[in-house]
Symmetry: C2
Subunit: 203 residues, 2 copies
């Protein structure tokens, strides 16, 4: 079993943080996406999107997408549960996990890709759309700050994979200087400080 990844990529961090929280070891294989090592036909056979992370099972099956990899391990190592403990909590974790993706990871990623032009060898860039996406990401930090004014974690007092997804999305924002401020986002800052105390934070 191997996990193909690029250490500084935010979706790879989601998997690494998850694995530390669960106490699961894995073999990590580096794929340098800055050099385009993920663009080879060989890598495309692992993931049609040519992205990392990808989990390779011992039977040769490839599982792409960070959340899919996490769910694979959640089934095999259910304790401690990170995807919710009952129907309502599972639904709330899924809801916040998707908000982490659609409200933060995605707009930050669009800002990064379309403004920095980092991947312009492999995609068309629309800087105005990228700038607008960055503004939406910043605006969502206000929404998050408001949420954390009366919630310890995204789903009440239950730490979940949604918190991992959200903090990885939030920290990814730094690449385009999209950051919360202690002054304007005290509750969001408090939540992040709390996550920093977990051993998984530095994974």
């Amino acid at each position: 079993m191997k996990i193909y990844e690029f250490a500084t990529a935010p979706n790879c961090r989601r998997v690494r943080m998850y694995m530390v929280e669960k106490g699961i070891d894995a073999d990590y294989v580096g794929v340098d996406i800055t050099k385009g090592e993920n663009l080879s036909p060989d890598f495309r056979s692992k993931d049609i999107n040519k992205k990392v992370p990808v989990l390779e099972l011992d039977d040769g099956t490839y599982i792409a997408e960070s959340v899919a990899i996490q769910r694979y391990f959640e089934e095999l190592h259910p304790e401690p549960p990170l995807f919710g403990r009952d129907a309502k909590e599972k639904a709330q974790v899924e809801m916040w996990n998707r908000r982490a993706d659609f409200n933060l990871m995605f707009p930050v990623g669009m800002c990064f890709q379309h403004v920095s032009g980092f991947f312009k060898d492999r995609m068309n860039v629309y800087p105005d759309f990228g700038e607008d996406s960055g503004k939406r990401a910043l605006k969502f930090m206000d929404t998050l700050n408001n949420h954390f004014s009366d919630h310890q974690y995204l789903v009440g007092d239950y730490f979940s994979v949604a918190d991992i997804s959200m903090v990885c999305s939030l920290d990814f924002g730094k690449v385009q200087n999209l950051r919360p401020s202690t002054e304007n986002h005290p509750h969001l800052t408090r939540w992040r400080e709390q996550l920093k105390e977990r051993p998984s934070f530095k994974a």
Copy 2:
């Protein structure tokens, strides 16, 4: 228990198809997004993103996001399982469900929003980005066609919620005339014809 929805919205169809597959009844409450009924402060208290569908539980909890609603019911009504039957299958369903969102629903939605300007009263539009998104959606239909050349469903011979997500994303493309062709996408067409035979298809 109520489900707030707008009948022609693709993410609402995902939930309705799912409910028919599981044989679960629910009260559906129409929210006319073309008239902005979802933009009220009252609706924002149901979903910070002011989107449909939203599930209201009897205890007053709101669950937004189509997949979160599906997962809520999957826990309470596990048969027939639509999110996978073991760790590997659950991971593969999650992987394809995310591909349905990121590779098709999202680019189709971006094309619709940025080219048609349907929601231009509530967002900035970047038509060039929208056109490019449409092209990416079409290109993904080639990838899907290739996948279905040797797979009955997205995850082998197992019909799952990922097939629901994908067909709702595919059919949403019609709004911008992003369609597969029988000639160029025979396997994708075969897969869709197969889904058409299910009672849930017209949900």
